[in-house]
Assembly symmetry: C2
Homo-oligomer: 393 residues x 2
């Protein structure tokens, strides 16, 4: 048995981790744009990256280290993704690290922002050299890594094990647009003092990605920079695999849900739950199709229970389905039941009430097998267009 307790505060509450964020002049509005995570001992590290074939320079730089490398420093900037920058992008990262005044081991860089611009390395070097590595200011770090995010994204948990020992885990992340199920477009940094073996780090990151970051979508676009990093300094000496798996799932779920809720301009965070599909894969195909359909997303925005679009999207996803077995509901309001349209005026009024909520569930029971998957998405309205029509300026 174990107990998981949410803790107020940030990942800098974990013994041995330090962080901060500053303004280095990358954002023209003077907002924070450069941050770091520093550990006073070397950490084991594992990562999962975007499946985009054009991986950004920081991802390729990371993958040049030996498989079991340890690190004590992550440098993170917003506003420039250092993507599509070729060998120069990697050379720039090496030049930045070799120009820093402080002593760090196997430093990692992580970037987010506009693709296909050379990274402004002079500003980054100048800014990073003002860092105070003894800072514990995760709030500033969370701000510094934001791009179109409306708010910073963090969480913290403490896990108490049966033998009285305990460990902590906390995360900071960014992500609002360009969010799609191949990790979602995002950066997420998770720190822990759990004494987790290296092999468990990789396994548990991957297993939990499937139902968290890989289950969310804002706009169906997969970025060049998606990264989830897990750092373990093992200072607590405490560990239990089941407990860690569960708390890591919580951390990743929290971060994923905060991203969906912050979908650019989104007002609704919606769970698309597909059950009784022929198998889990087909449930996933249908659930992700729903979370990505523009017609579904605009109907949610309009608070219109136009469930025909939901059925049509399932049919278009090419999975096994049958309209005489399909049941569709908004939370517990059933609007279509195995061939019968239930959406009369009374039912519609109830459905509209559900759609007025900021969080709800669209449930599709395919009535065919036992497959299930829940994808998470959001509505899409005018604000998304406004944010993305001229993002670079």
């Amino acid at each position: 048995m174990f107990t998981i307790l949410p803790i107020k505060g940030y990942l800098d509450q974990i013994d041995g981790f330090y962080c901060d964020g500053i303004s280095a002049g990358l954002k023209s509005n003077g907002k924070k744009d450069l941050g770091f995570i520093y550990s006073d001992t070397l950490c084991d590290v594992e990562a999962v990256f975007t499946k985009n074939k054009f991986q950004a320079a920081p991802l390729r730089h990371y993958q040049m280290y030996d498989k079991d490398f340890q690190t004590n420093f992550i440098l993170i900037n917003s506003k420039n993704a250092n993507a599509l920058t070729g060998q120069k992008g990697i050379d720039d990262i090496n030049e930045i690290f070799s120009s820093l005044k402080f002593d760090i081991t196997n430093p990692i860089m992580s970037s987010t922002g506009v693709i296909a611009n050379p990274i402004p390395k002079e500003k980054i070097i100048a800014g990073a050299n003002t860092f105070d590595l003894s800072s514990k200011n995760a709030e500033s770090l969370a701000e510094a890594i934001m791009t179109t995010d409306a708010y910073p994204k963090t969480c913290m948990y403490e896990v108490k094990l049966e033998d009285g020992s305990s460990f902590k885990i906390g995360a900071v992340s960014k992500g609002a647009g360009m969010i799609n199920p191949n990790l979602a477009t995002m950066l997420c940094f998770i720190c822990t003092d759990a004494s987790i073996p290296k092999e468990d780090m990789k396994e548990l990151l991957e297993v939990n990605s499937h139902t968290t970051f890989n289950a969310i979508s804002v706009d169906g676009d997969t970025s060049t920079n998606d990264t989830v990093l897990l750092l373990a300094n093992k200072k607590s000496k405490a560990y239990d695999k089941e407990a860690f798996k569960e708390v890591l799932r919580l951390v990743m779920h929290d971060m994923a849900m905060l991203m969906v809720a912050d979908g650019e301009g989104a007002k609704k965070a919606v769970a698309f739950e597909v059950i009784n599909a022929a198998n889990d894969e087909e449930a996933q195909t249908a659930a992700k199709a729903l979370s990505n359909s523009l017609l579904v997303k605009t109907a949610l925005y309009g608070e219109d229970p136009n469930f025909g679009r939901i059925a049509s999207t399932i049919g278009a996803s090419q999975i096994q389905c049958d309209e005489t077995k399909l049941v569709i509901s908004y939370n517990d309001v059933i609007v279509y039941n195995k061939g019968e349209i239930l959406l009369d005026d009374i039912c519609e009024a109830k459905a509209v009430q559900v759609l007025k909520n900021s969080e709800y569930k669209v449930l599709c029971d395919l009535g065919i097998g036992e497959g299930k998957f829940t994808a998470y998405g959001c509505d899409l309205g005018y604000e998304y267009i406004k944010i993305n029509a001229d993002y670079r300026t």
Copy 2:
């Protein structure tokens, strides 16, 4: 040799075809919503339908006829798709046809509009019984089948063969939103007096769908009702397979391009040309991903040459690609050349000029093999949201 001449006018210029459109009260604003195509002799007919698994009742009704059936009547309504209506939807079609006063053979119904509403059969029967089957008023028919279309869509051609004989072909179609590469969400009715053999009708419809209707996208959503119908009354006694293949391609291309240009709220019709991919399939995957990407579409709307989103979308599509071989241009303005970012101030000004056009090309040379495909799409702006947020009301 043969000559293809565009003709001003509508498909009712073809000998033996009659059509009209009226207001039957399905649209609350009194606009035309019910139309027909009538032939004074029986026609061979072929169709291609949506790949959506939830095919609407009219499609299932059609498929109940024998493979080689002939028809002389198509009834078309807008505002209600008769989709997700089960056996009742088919029963309603049979009831409508058995209630019509005039003598017709193997009538076909075609519907577009809101999914999952019972079809208002009384209004349709009452309206259809006022039809004058001797009308030649294709303009009214084109209006009657519109839903969110901004304008009616028609074309007409005459083909002169080397032996002095000639035939005509004309089309009327609808489609603006819910447009996606599985035929695009649309209805298209093509009439000809060419003496085309039945087997050629199916073959040429399918081969031309690939590069026309299946190459366009407005919003990535595939409807339940997509239909392309080809009717041949063979009155001209003239036919040449190569000529017919080419003119049918022209007709279908015209109709497809009119739909893209009428993408709900769209101001730009954009060709996404992918060349030198590993093979044609990969080119198609990348081209369609580009035409469907929200981030690409919003950048086009913002007239922002943010080509990083184009590269990122190609990378995310999981095809074989290499940033040191990739070339991206807007018309002839190259912005990225094999790892080199060319978008300085001068180049950007030129690219913005291209993006201000209402039609242009985004060219992606992958530099890997010889595969190529062109997909057609449009920008996505506020108007799309406005049209789709509360479509039913």
